[in-house]
């Protein structure tokens, strides 16, 4: 197990009376690519911005590389990159100036890689930043972040404005970055199919807490729709407490497994005297199930 790069303890962030983050605890390990999921208004941006030190926490503690932002050394700070959800400003610069200027604040900035990416992603270096479309503007900021070769990269909805082709290319770059530099990446997204491609961990933010945080492979192998068949109706017995979305039927029941179970479902079914059939569940279905459950 890797050492945690980010350690969040009892983090609370309130806007007036509204608690967006509520006693949140979370640890992210070095080299992980974490997809942060959550509904609109769940507090994903607030969490990421608080993590970056852009917002002050109401209470609690965030440690990155075992330091608070305020105590972090300059060399460490320069190894963190962030792409906000909606970035404005710099309209008067052209793409080349923008990339070179901001790259200059990151000692490990890779100029060749930067312009190689911008050329591959069809970003005209002479075009004014103010004239870029929403998607191009997002690509620009992503290029800037990637080419600074960060050890910790935080992206807030990085693919929201990108077309499917661009999304794939961008995600491939993320994996490459993580493999090359053992970088840790946290990105929020609504597009669940993306996380299957790139993330090795998935976190679900709901009610101000990280409700689910799993290894993607473990999760994918665990989640399933299940059909329990018996001689008669099967009610939700204590054996099946870990199952979600329980529906009793005249000849059994249907339910969902949304998290790794302590015991295999087969042994539960055997104890209850019913037969079990597992049907595959996509991560998108899983997300809908758990976000429905958290309601």
């Amino acid at each position: 197990m890797n050492s945690p790069i980010i350690s969040i303890n009892s983090l609370t962030k309130a806007y007036g009376q509204q608690h967006v983050l509520n006693q949140l605890n979370w640890q992210v390990e070095q080299g992980d690519i974490v997809a942060l999921l959550g509904k609109n208004g769940a507090g994903k941006s607030t969490l990421l911005e608080t993590l970056m030190g852009l917002r002050d926490a109401s209470s609690g503690e965030i440690r990155i590389w075992d330091s608070h932002w305020n105590d972090m050394q300059q060399e460490r700070r320069e190894k963190v990159a962030f792409v906000a959800q909606d970035i404005k400003g710099f309209e008067w610069m052209n793409v080349k100036t923008f990339l070179e200027y901001l790259g200059g604040f990151f000692p490990q900035w890779d100029r060749d890689y930067c312009f190689q990416l911008s050329s591959r992603w069809n970003l005209d270096p002479k075009k004014r930043v103010g004239d870029l479309s929403g998607g191009q503007s997002q690509i620009l900021h992503v290029i800037q972040a990637l080419s600074s070769k960060p050890e910790l990269l935080i992206l807030d909805e990085p693919v929201a404005h990108l077309d499917p082709g661009m999304r794939r290319e961008f995600l491939a770059e993320l994996i490459e970055l993580s493999c090359d530099l053992n970088s840790t990446v946290i990105f929020s997204s609504h597009i669940v199919s993306d996380l299957e491609r790139v993330a090795n961990k998935v976190a679900l933010l709901a009610h101000g807490e990280i409700n689910h945080y799993y290894d993607v492979d473990t999760l994918k192998s665990s989640i399933a729709h299940v059909k329990l068949t018996g001689d008669s109706r099967v009610d939700k017995l204590p054996y099946f407490d870990a199952l979600h979305n329980w529906h009793s039927r005249h000849d059994g029941a249907t339910a969902s497994i949304v998290s790794p179970l302590e015991k295999p479902i087969e042994s539960m079914a055997e104890a209850a005297g019913v037969q079990v059939e597992k049907l595959p569940m996509s991560l998108e279905d899983w997300y809908l199930e758990v976000s429905h459950a958290t309601n």
Binding site: M52, E78, K88, W92, Y101, L102, F105
Partner: protein
């Protein structure tokens, strides 16, 4: 060092028109500085003239460089990277100090036996003025720049000048200290986003304009344009904003003129045209923000007809400018009546004509070609046109023969009509897609 050089260039190129405006202001400064020397003011008057000129130029520089700093410091690195913060602040200070150093010799020359602390006042003016843009809270934007003006009144209560100077310089140091704090970062909130979309005003908070527009729209809806409903609000937004800016500048100029006593008549005659010319430049700078919004609403008032759409865009923008010039005229005429000296009437009138006529000439051009290209053309031709109006007025004033005055008016009007016809032709030749896309 490389990053500082880059930042300097980015700050200066943040707004080309700003750079040109500062250069023009500097030229004006040299011209008026020369006049003060040429007019042979007594030492005290000469010192006052130099000080006010330096303060005005440095304050304008402070406001505009504050705008550039604001644009850059909204990036997340401001909060998390002390190196980024230092680079931006150093660059801001280098530009402001360079302008300050350029204007300083005149002040040193006229300082006489006054305290050397006076030499720091223009630099402080730049720092205080920058808070007009940089401060987050509306109240602070007024109070901080007003603070040194308040302190300047202390000597009239018997407090030695030196104390008020020390307080003002100390205040500027505190502002500088506050500027470099990481907490002095604000993410763009909704109001800021609107500001960036609609206008990058240096002076008026968009939420305030929205409120004013809301009440204006209610009034307009009830009394004048009931059938058009809330669209009135949408279209009146840029107009109200521009008018408020005009009024804001008139109030600043007005306070200065009214504070000047009769014995400083010479100074007043000297500064009024400078202030009015500067106000004109600022209004033109602000006016460019109008276009995108007027264009985006124009389709509401026209059928599916490109000709009508073009006509509507042009008409709406014309109306905005004429109403703005009217606001400026009324304000300036009231000022000229309240003013302790009556001699600046011609200058006030000439400035108003410049504001209105030059704007009307260049409006079609500004709507149809990129702002950067038009900026250079506009500033050059505006200066020529301004000189021609002043020249005509002066000529008419010197030749009291009734024959000459109509001739001057006819020549100005003909020049105006000819120029306007030319720019309007350019506007009509552009395809409507280009017009709407053009920023």
């Amino acid at each position: 060092m490389q990053q500082i050089k880059r930042t300097l260039w980015l700050m200066l190129s943040h707004s080309w028109i700003t750079m040109i405006a500062i250069a023009l202001l500097f030229a004006l400064f040299l011209f008026f500085q020369f006049l003060t020397l040429y007019n042979g003011f007594e030492p005290e008057k000469s010192f006052q003239a130099s000080l006010v000129l330096d303060i005005v130029l440095c304050a304008f520089t402070g406001i505009y460089m504050g705008g550039a700093l604001l644009s850059l410091k909204q990036y997340y690195l401001w909060k998390v990277n002390p190196n980024f913060r230092k680079t931006l602040l150093k660059s801001f200070l280098i530009i402001v100090t360079t302008i300050y150093c350029l204007v300083l010799p005149g002040l040193i020359f006229s300082l006489g036996d006054k305290s050397w602390l006076y030499l720091l006042v223009p630099l402080c003016a730049a720092i205080y003025a920058s808070t007009l843009v940089l401060e987050d809270k509306w109240l602070l934007r007024i109070l901080i720049p007003a603070f040194p003006i308040g302190m300047a009144q202390l000597p009239s209560f018997g407090i030695p000048e030196i104390y008020s100077l020390i307080i003002v310089i100390g205040g500027a140091a505190i502002i500088l200290y506050r500027m470099q704090l990481a907490s002095n970062f604000r993410k763009l909130d909704n109001a800021d986003r609107i500001r960036i979309t609609i206008t990058e005003s240096t002076s008026i908070k968009p939420t305030l304009v929205f409120k004013i527009n809301y009440y204006l729209s209610l009034l307009a809806e009830k009394l004048i344009l009931r059938p058009k409903g809330n669209m009135v609000w949408a279209v009146s937004l840029p107009q109200t904003k521009l008018n408020l800016i005009s009024l804001g500048y008139l109030i600043i100029v007005g306070v200065f003129i009214l504070m000047t006593s009769k014995k400083d008549k010479n100074l007043l005659e000297l500064f009024s045209p400078m202030f009015l010319t500067a106000s004109f430049l600022v209004i033109v700078l602000e006016s460019r923000q109008l276009f995108s919004q007027v264009k985006s609403f124009a389709h509401i008032f026209s059928a599916n007809n490109h000709r009508q759409l073009k006509n509507t865009i042009l008409r709406k923008v014309d109306i905005n400018f004429i109403s703005n010039a009217f606001t400026f005229s009324v304000g300036a005429l009231v000022l000229s009546f309240l003013s302790p000296v009556q001699t600046n009437y011609q200058i006030v009138f000439g400035s108003l004509l410049i504001v209105m006529l030059v704007s009307l000439i260049f409006l079609p051009m500004m709507l149809s070609i990129q702002w950067l290209k038009v900026s250079f053309a506009q500033v050059g031709i505006a200066s020529l046109y301004g000189f021609s109006i002043f020249g005509s007025l002066r000529w008419a004033g010197q030749n009291q023969d009734l024959l000459f005055q109509p001739l001057a008016v006819i020549s100005v009007v003909s020049l105006f009509l000819l120029a306007r016809a030319g720019t309007q032709l350019l506007f009509w030749q552009r395809p409507v897609e280009r017009l709407v896309k053009c920023k």
